[in-house]
């Protein structure tokens, strides 16, 4: 059984097993160190919700009342969305929670980079459409 390897007290030659288990959880990249938080009251969740609702309300009010010129309005709405996404990844999705290194941060960073290239690249290349059609 695979699982026995990680429960050294159940087998013989326990010292070897402990060494293996500790290496599995070693933190070689400090940025990816895991982080957990626990409180008697879900402050993080409430903070995340209030912040999300506030950012969303600002975006809606800006558009409903047309409070800025169109170009800067779109820019501000997108920036608000990016800020809100960052807060939700950190607060609701516990991005830094992990056993051993939080590899998901690296994987998600790669995915985010691909997403940014695909979307921003498409928008950028379409700016030249009026030049050729």
């Amino acid at each position: 059984m695979m699982a026995d390897r990680f429960y050294p007290s159940h087998g013989t030659g326990a010292m070897n097993h402990i060494e293996i288990a500790e290496n599995e959880d070693r933190i070689e990249i400090p940025v990816l160190a895991p982080h957990f938080s626990s409180h008697k009251f879900p402050w993080h969740q409430v903070f995340g919700y209030v912040f999300s609702m506030a950012l969303t309300a600002i975006a809606f009010l800006l558009v409903i009342n047309q409070m800025l010129p169109v170009a800067s309005l779109v820019f501000v709405v997108i920036v608000l969305a990016v800020v809100q996404a960052a807060i939700q990844f950190g607060v609701f999705m516990h991005l830094r929670e992990s056993r051993g290194m939080a590899w998901q941060m690296l994987v998600l960073g790669l995915g985010g980079f691909i997403a940014l290239c695909v979307v921003a690249g498409s928008i950028w290349i379409m700016m030249f459409k009026s030049g050729v059609s």
């Binding site: 709405v77 929670e97 997403a115 695909v118």
Partner: protein, 210 residues
């Protein structure tokens, strides 16, 4: 830098879903799935960005979109994300009934979201704005519809979790399943933030950008 904690000491302070080695690997695997889903949505967003002014004499966003259903959908989904995070909070405190209540509330809010969205889509189709009409509408229905079908799938997934929590209580396995469901649900909420910002609000400003 290398920090090595005693394995047993660490397992005692880890939440159930991480204390079990195999369950913790499944969580990392689920993050990798979510990343592929992120790339999928980015392709649909890019398609929408390219097609969003191709109205083909059909309706434009200003004709089509209304604030009321958009505000209702956004409020429902944001709140469901919050209640879902509270379900995880309660499962970490070994409070089965608390986790179940917040999960069921999450499901109800999700159903409200899907219901409002279906109603919105039906009203578009009834006014002649089908996805055959224009490039803008094809891209719109594909992007927002893919998100909506993800939410619908999430509702059925959550219903199976309710049954498992009732039967088995909070174990390393059920808490991991609840945790991955929460990751999925919050991720869909983040996708929705970009949908209401980039698809709806940005195109309801009355001007043309780029």
């Amino acid at each position: 830098m290398s920090q090595t904690l005693s394995k047993l000491a660490r397992e005692q302070e880890l939440p159930l879903e991480f204390a079990d080695y195999h369950e913790s690997i499944k969580i990392t695997g689920f993050w990798i799935f979510l990343t592929t889903d992120l790339v999928l949505f980015s392709c649909l967003f890019a398609t929408f960005a390219v097609m969003r002014y191709d109205y083909a004499n059909g309706p434009t966003p200003l004709h089509l979109f209304h604030m009321t259903p958009l505000i209702v959908e956004t409020a429902l989904l944001l709140t469901s994300s919050f209640t879902c995070s509270l379900a995880i909070y309660q499962s970490r405190r070994q409070n089965k009934n608390g986790a179940l209540s917040w999960l069921i509330l999450t499901i109800l809010l999700g159903m409200g979201f899907v219901g409002t969205e279906v109603h919105e889509f039906v009203s578009y189709v009834n006014s002649g704005a089908t996805w055959h009409q224009s490039g803008f509408l094809s891209a719109f229905f594909t992007l927002v519809g893919t998100h909506g079908s993800h939410v619908t799938f999430g509702i059925f997934w959550a219903l199976t979790l309710v049954a498992q929590l009732v039967q088995r209580g909070i174990t390393p396995r059920t808490s991991r399943k609840l945790y991955t469901f929460a990751l999925y649900w919050h991720f869909l909420d983040i996708v929705w933030v970009f949908i209401f910002s980039f698809v709806y609000l940005s195109n309801m400003t009355g001007g043309k950008m780029v």
